[in-house]
């Protein structure tokens, strides 16, 4: 057992975990650790605001599937990170956040830059720690990485008193983390798998409803196999986009508040809803008593608390999505009577019905004159990138148009704040993804409101050559709230008009990035092409039709069949 400082031990632990990039912002309480980082091979990315550090670590984690790491100082550094932590918590993203803390002797004294960050983040972390004994430091870090990435993933915070980091400690041998009180279950119960498959065999109008769990467990192949084997149409939550190919004929697109007409109708008429790694969020279900009223419900989820939380489930399977789907696929393969053709024939009337709904109310928009429609920008972006780019979004209309009109075919290609709905997520998350995959095209689709929430991270992008592209759908409004005010508040636009908006092209230049602008429809393609081809951080500012809405829309609290259409 070798002796070293706490700071050296932290760096060594990060190396053990295979961490090569971390995102952070220094301060007095973590200065020892920063001193140690200077001599290590771990790349530290200096952000411009701590929220950006946590979002970047989150974007890195979503894009790679590995655990993202952020390092913040005590007090305001830690509190600035809270929004990022809550964002990761709501979407079950594995990150480990290190925060500095005042020396142990000063804790509780209202010392300079002291805050009880463990208390503050208790409800928005999967678990958190204050390291009160230097000898606990290494076991805690190992446990934190294990907890963050196992079971239902999530953020874990480790609060590091300055004197613990400076202390001399013994570095214990690495051994497998085993915890008495935390043993997530991955394997599906064979009896439940059997029940679920029998229900599928009997169903006439089945729907697969998939969420972020499919992506987190890398289950997209198994899911596609099940859907195709049994010819079951698939609808995705925002977090599930990319978990099943958007261009597959069985895809109905997204469901819920801004879901496709066909998806919401199919769920409402379905006799068997197979939820995979989704959690029946209110944006999906609308009015609960009208959600899937005729359907038996199968729910696959690794987290037992998700089962029957909002909607009563008939056949729960508490397991890793990938393993559960694999077991279901094997069940059908082993079933002597199984005949894929028979399934396809049996579901033909159902698929016809869905096709009819799709034809009646497709996802669409009306082109008027030469004004730029935001949906057109997203469609063009999809065409020009071949659906291959890693897309991040901010939150609001920009996010929903992206979800509706960009066809995501691969998992980990849409990084968006689904649960918490954090404006300001997209740009730092894009930087995190770009640093993980320097050769990938990474694009943040933003609104003029949300991009300003973390626009300072343009400097981070420039400093590290993370040449991300930012598409701003600029309507000089906080568009989603404006849309609600238009529809439900008698067009009283309270605090949603952005009376002052910066000149984004000039702003880009001020940061050393490139800035481009399109004001009419026929300029869109050229600007996108130039922006995507430019070897720099690029802002593309699109002046879109100002009062364009996101449709279909299920008003909050209504049944999902009560959609407002274009």
């Amino acid at each position: 057992m070798s002796k070293m400082t706490g700071a050296q031990a932290i760096v060594k632990c990060l190396q053990e975990e295979g961490v090569n990039t971390i995102f952070g912002f220094p301060g007095g309480a973590v200065i020892d650790l920063y001193d140690e980082l200077l001599d290590s091979d771990i790349k530290h990315v200096l952000v411009r605001h701590e929220q950006g550090a946590v979002h970047a670590a989150d974007g890195y984690a979503r894009a790679t599937g590995k655990t993202g790491v952020a390092l913040l100082t005590s007090g305001p550094g830690a509190t600035n990170g809270v929004t990022g932590i809550a964002t990761a918590y709501m979407d079950s993203i594995p990150i480990v956040v290190f925060t500095g803390q005042v020396p142990r002797a000063l804790i509780g004294n209202d010392a300079f830059q002291e805050v009880d960050i463990v208390g503050i983040t208790r409800p928005c972390t999967k678990h958190n720690y204050l390291v009160s004994d230097p000898d606990d430091l290494v076991p805690i870090i190992r446990e934190a990485f294990y907890i963050a990435s196992s079971g239902r993933p999530g953020p874990v915070l480790i609060d590091l008193p300055k004197d613990v980091v400076a202390a001399t400690i013994r570095f214990p041998e690495k051994k497998k983390v085993r915890m008495q009180t935390y043993q997530p279950n991955y394997e599906p119960h064979p009896g439940q798998v059997d029940k679920a498959c029998r229900a599928i065999a009997k169903a006439k109008r089945p729907v697969l409803y998939i969420g972020g769990g499919v992506i987190l467990s890398d289950a997209h192949k198994e899911l596609t196999e099940l859907a195709e084997k049994t010819t079951i149409p698939v609808t995705m939550t925002l977090m599930g986009l990319g978990g099943f190919p958007g261009t597959n004929p069985l895809s109905m697109g997204m469901l819920g508040m801004h879901g496709s007409y066909a998806s919401n109708m199919a769920v409402a008429k379905s006799d068997l809803l197979i939820a995979v790694g989704a959690r029946f969020d209110d944006r999906i279900t609308g009015r609960l008593d009208a959600f899937a009223p005729h359907a038996k419900i199968i729910h696959i989820d690794i987290d037992p608390t998700s089962i029957s939380k909002n909607v009563e489930v008939d056949i729960p399977i508490v397991a890793d999505c990938k393993l559960a789907l694999r077991a279901m696929n094997s069940w059908f393969d082993d079933w002597a009577e199984f005949d894929a053709r028979a399934f396809a024939d049996k579901h033909q009337p159902w698929l016809e019905q869905i096709k009819e709904w799709n034809e009646k109310h497709p996802l669409t928009y009306q082109q008027e004159g030469d004004v730029i429609k935001p949906q057109y920008v997203i469609e063009k972006l999809g065409e020009l990138t071949g659906g291959d780019a890693i897309i991040t979004t901010e939150v609001g209309q920009n996010q929903m148009w992206t979800a509706q009109f960009y066809k995501f075919n691969k998992p980990r290609h849409l990084l968006t704040s689904g649960g918490l709905g954090t404006m300001g997520y997209g740009l730092p998350a894009a930087i995190g993804a770009k640093l993980a995959f320097p050769d990938a095209m990474v694009i943040d689709v933003a609104g003029d409101g949300s991009i300003q929430m973390n626009i300072q991270e343009l400097a981070t992008a420039k400093q590290y050559g993370a040449n991300v592209k930012v598409v701003i759908l600029n309507n000089n409004y906080l568009g989603m709230v404006r849309q609600w005010q238009e529809l439900f508040y008698n067009r009283r636009y309270s605090a949603t008009v952005m009376e002052v908006t910066p000149d984004f092209v000039e702003l880009a230049k001020a940061y050393g990035a490139a800035g481009l602008r399109a004001k009419t429809r026929d300029e869109v393609e050229a600007v996108l092409k130039e922006g995507l081809a430019t070897d720099n951080v690029v802002i593309m500012d699109f002046a879109i039709s100002r009062e364009e809405g996101v449709f279909p829309m299920v008003p909050a609290g209504k049944a999902t069949t009560e959609m407002l259409l274009v």
């Binding site: 409800p123 678990h127 008495q180 939380k309």
Partner: protein, 160 residues
């Protein structure tokens, strides 16, 4: 429906706060809460009385399980169980009522633990219903102060 949950959790700083934070954050209610060390000093036992329909109790149980510091959750009110609470009551005991207070306390198998010229402080233990009953009886005489521990509970051993 009232439920009495017995929760074993690691005796670590902040562990209790995770439990209470879970209840306040998710809008579950706590009627009483009692916590102390078990035979193993690294483990605390927490007895928690709450109310809710089956779905809510199921959520509470699952959410408690999900906390990393929680070792075991059992709903002792699901089967046969014993529950006890203790109350300390300071009640007026003046010339005309001193004897009556003693009689009442005797009926409830309580005892006097502190005496002043005008009051008795008495101790009574029992299930919640008994505690309520003694309070109701003493109230007209004049209760000056009351402190209750909240319920602790234990499942009965199997009969066979």
């Amino acid at each position: 429906m009232k439920h009495t949950l017995s929760v074993l959790l690691q005796n670590k700083p902040g562990a209790l706060s995770r439990v209470t934070g879970l209840f306040s954050g998710r809008g579950f209610n706590i009627e009483s809460l009692c916590v102390a060390e078990t035979l193993d000093p690294k483990v605390s036992c927490l007895t928690l009385v709450t109310r809710g329909d089956e779905g809510i109790i199921e959520q509470i149980t699952k959410q408690l399980h999900k906390l990393i510091d929680v070792i075991k959750v059992s709903d002792v009110s699901e089967g046969e169980f014993v529950e006890r609470e203790m109350v300390l009551i300071r009640v007026k005991a003046e010339a005309g009522t001193r004897a009556e207070v003693l009689r009442v306390i005797d009926i409830f198998r309580g005892k006097v633990v502190d005496v002043s010229p005008t009051t008795y402080a008495v101790e009574v233990t029992g299930p919640e219903s008994k505690i309520k009953a003694v309070i109701d009886i003493l109230r007209p005489i004049g209760i000056k102060e009351i402190v209750r521990t909240g319920t602790i509970a234990m499942a009965r051993a199997p009969k066979k």
